[in-house]
């Protein structure tokens, strides 16, 4: 199938009659995924959104349920979002990040109905990366500019059109009700050629990183790595795989709602106990936690690293604390493997 670029807006308009459509939209100096109300709002001419699309399934601020106390007693109303959604033009790394998040929200111990209901109702239409950015290192983490992990369909930009590759039954369902032309031999060849030429120039050597992190929690390397870190939430909130949250009540008297908000391991409040004790009292322990969670604990739990190499933390950190440099230091460190 094919979408001519000048017919893209009309195509998205068609989808909107059946789904909530989320697409990259220009906002200030960047793009972000937003629910669109007209196909013309979408711009697929983007490198990577400022904020990852994880928020469509796991919003930064999410009302779980509301409650009220009246004369008839307590009333609780759960807020499960069952709307059918399409995320249109998601990058392969971001799609892969959702597959990683599935481990967290759907496992032997927990099934999160808020996330899972959205996930089941959401179709992911990917957009391959013809020109990966200098900060992209997806191939080092098993992804790639045209990787289809997690996607229901993939678009390949061949100049004035997108060649559509259907990947799943859900993808087929999405495109079946539309009137798109079929891709010809030449279009398919053009798509294959684009895939050939796209190169990810940045690589990160992860060999042995997990083994080093396994050995010495108290390695002196942690004394220095965090020194310049400010302890903000830029790297975690812009990371597509970070998923820690905090639950609060937003209420006046006995009426209100329970809300789930993104949280960040880099904040002092993150592990502060009610007693006042904090097991991660300084930036050193917090920074170590961020690295450990991504490159050790997630691997211990789910057998995969919690990074897709999107480069957002690199581009956005206010002090240029580059995760690639941190991984290189750990990798090359003297961290003892014999302990």
């Amino acid at each position: 199938m094919l979408i001519n670029k000048n017919e893209l807006a009309g195509f998205l308009d068609q989808l909107m009659s059946r789904y909530q459509v989320f697409a990259p939209v220009k906002e200030a100096d960047y793009t972000n995924f937003k629910q669109i109300s007209s196909g013309t709002e979408a711009t697929l001419d983007y490198s990577n959104t400022k904020i990852p699309p994880k928020g469509i399934l796991f919003p930064q601020t999410e009302k779980l349920f509301s409650y009220s106390c009246g004369t008839e007693g307590a009333q609780v109303q759960e807020c499960i979002d069952q709307q059918k959604k399409v995320v249109f033009g998601i990058r392969p790394c971001d799609a892969k990040s959702l597959v990683l998040l599935d481990n967290v929200f759907n496992n032997d111990k927990y099934q999160d109905p808020y996330y899972l209901t959205r996930r089941e109702n959401t179709i992911l239409v990917g957009l391959g990366c013809n020109r990966p950015a200098g900060t992209c290192f997806c191939t080092s983490l098993g992804g790639g500019p045209f990787d289809t992990t997690g996607l229901d369909a993939l678009l390949v930009d061949t100049g004035d059109k997108y060649v559509v590759e259907i990947l799943t039954e859900r993808g087929r369902e999405l495109f079946s009700g539309t009137t798109l032309p079929e891709a010809g031999e030449a279009d398919r060849a053009a798509a294959a050629a684009v895939k050939e030429t796209a190169t990810v120039s940045c690589t990160v050597n992860l060999d042995g990183v997990k083994a080093k992190l396994d050995t010495d929690f108290y390695d002196p390397i942690w004394d220095g790595l965090h020194e310049k870190c400010l302890g903000c939430a830029v790297c975690t909130y812009t990371c597509p795989t970070c998923h820690c949250f905090d639950i609060v009540d937003d209420a006046v008297d006995a009426n209100g709602c329970r809300v789930r908000n993104w949280d960040a391991c880099m904040f002092p409040l993150f592990t502060l106990h009610g007693s006042g004790h904090n097991p991660r009292p300084t930036g050193k322990e917090r920074f170590r936690q961020r690295v450990m969670h991504k490159f050790k604990y997630f691997v211990d739990n789910y057998n995969v690293m919690a990074c897709v190499g999107c480069g957002r933390c690199i581009k956005n950190c206010p002090v240029n604390l580059d995760i690639r440099a941190i991984l290189a230091e750990i990798q090359g460190s003297e961290a003892r493997l014999d302990k």
Binding site: E27, K228, C232, F267, V319, N320
Partner: protein, 317 residues
């Protein structure tokens, strides 16, 4: 500016060799074009890793509070003004601090660079006299530095360090007073319009607190946004709460904010935070004649009282 970098390396090496300090905090080359990164040098042989150029934008005063070791810091004009305020607030022990002052010709705003490149990716950049040469896949653009400097650098009146122990490079000519034309223009708008602008702006805030963390003057043991009993502000990201957070943050820096722009530089969402901080700077100057960081002698505005201080909120005139 390789001469300045060389002089900084030399000064740092000497201070460490002679054991005058335990650590030198300066800048090292970063991992992205037009990006230097804060750097902590503990050994004399590592001093060669220090650099100086137009991308040393972070305010290093932020790393100096409550340290118990002996520290040397590379300080441009704004860093030094924050250091002065922190000394007055007893956050820095002057005896343990060596200030390597560097006159600053302005730092580059990568957001302005990105705007000029309109989506093209910057892969390399070079300083060439008063211009910056930007390079990427299939393009080279030469742009005058002035068009790429941070707004805070364009309006900065004090490029020279206001306090230093060693000076690297030559002092630059001081500039005249600040006319606060930007603040006046915003003040001139109708309240509803100001509200609309701020609401739009702060609907994009993600409450990452990078602004707070990057500000050398934001150091409360417990920030009011982190309190839970009582809870002063909603924890969720919501335009009104985001605005309240910023308004309180800015008010808390009254008479202390040196207009360094570190908060705005750190904000990943590109919000114009100086629109608010400069209003405060202007008001403190106009009402109390105090300029944060100008010198060590003036008593901080919040610690001083003069009979002639305007107090229209207390006494009907």
């Amino acid at each position: 500016m390789p001469e300045l970098a060389g002089a900084i390396q030399e000064a740092a090496r000497k201070l460490l060799e002679e054991k005058k300090v335990d650590v030198v905090i300066g800048f090292a080359p970063g991992t992205l074009p037009l990006r230097s990164t804060p750097c902590f040098v503990h050994r004399p042989e590592d001093a060669a890793g220090l650099t100086w150029n137009r991308s040393c934008e972070n305010n290093l005063a932020n790393y100096l509070r409550k340290r118990t070791d002996k520290v040397a810091v590379v300080a441009k004009g704004c860093d030094s003004r924050s250091i002065i305020e922190l000394i007055k607030e007893n956050q820095i022990n002057r005896e343990n601090l060596v200030i390597i002052g560097v006159p600053c010709a302005g730092m580059i705003d990568r957001k302005k660079v990105d705007r000029r490149l309109a989506g093209k990716e910057l892969l390399a950049a070079e300083e060439s006299g008063d211009s910056i040469v930007l390079k990427g896949d299939g393009f080279t653009e030469t742009i005058p530095v002035n068009e790429l400097l941070h707004d805070s650098c364009l309006s900065c009146r004090h490029p020279n360090p206001a306090l230093y122990d060693l000076l690297v490079g030559e002092l630059l000519p001081e500039k005249g007073g600040d006319d606060f034309a930007d603040v006046a223009a915003f003040e001139a708008k109708a309240p509803a319009e100001r509200r609309a602008i701020l609401t739009e702006e702060f609907s994009r805030c993600i409450r990452c607190y990078a602004c707070r963390q990057a500000c050398p003057m934001c150091y409360c043991e417990e920030c009011f946004v982190d309190c839970s009993t009582p809870q002063w502000i909603g924890k969720s990201s919501d335009a009104r709460d985001n605005m309240l957070f910023q308004a309180v943050r800015v008010l808390h820096s009254a008479g202390r904010c040196a207009d360094c722009g570190a908060c705005e530089r750190a904000c990943p969402m590109g919000l114009s935070l100086r629109n608010l901080t400069r209003k405060m700077v202007k008001d403190v100057q106009e009402l109390f004649g105090y300029e944060a960081g100008a010198n060590l002698e003036d008593k901080p505005a919040l610690a001083d009282f003069k009979a002639e201080d305007p107090q229209p909120f207390l006494i009907e005139e």
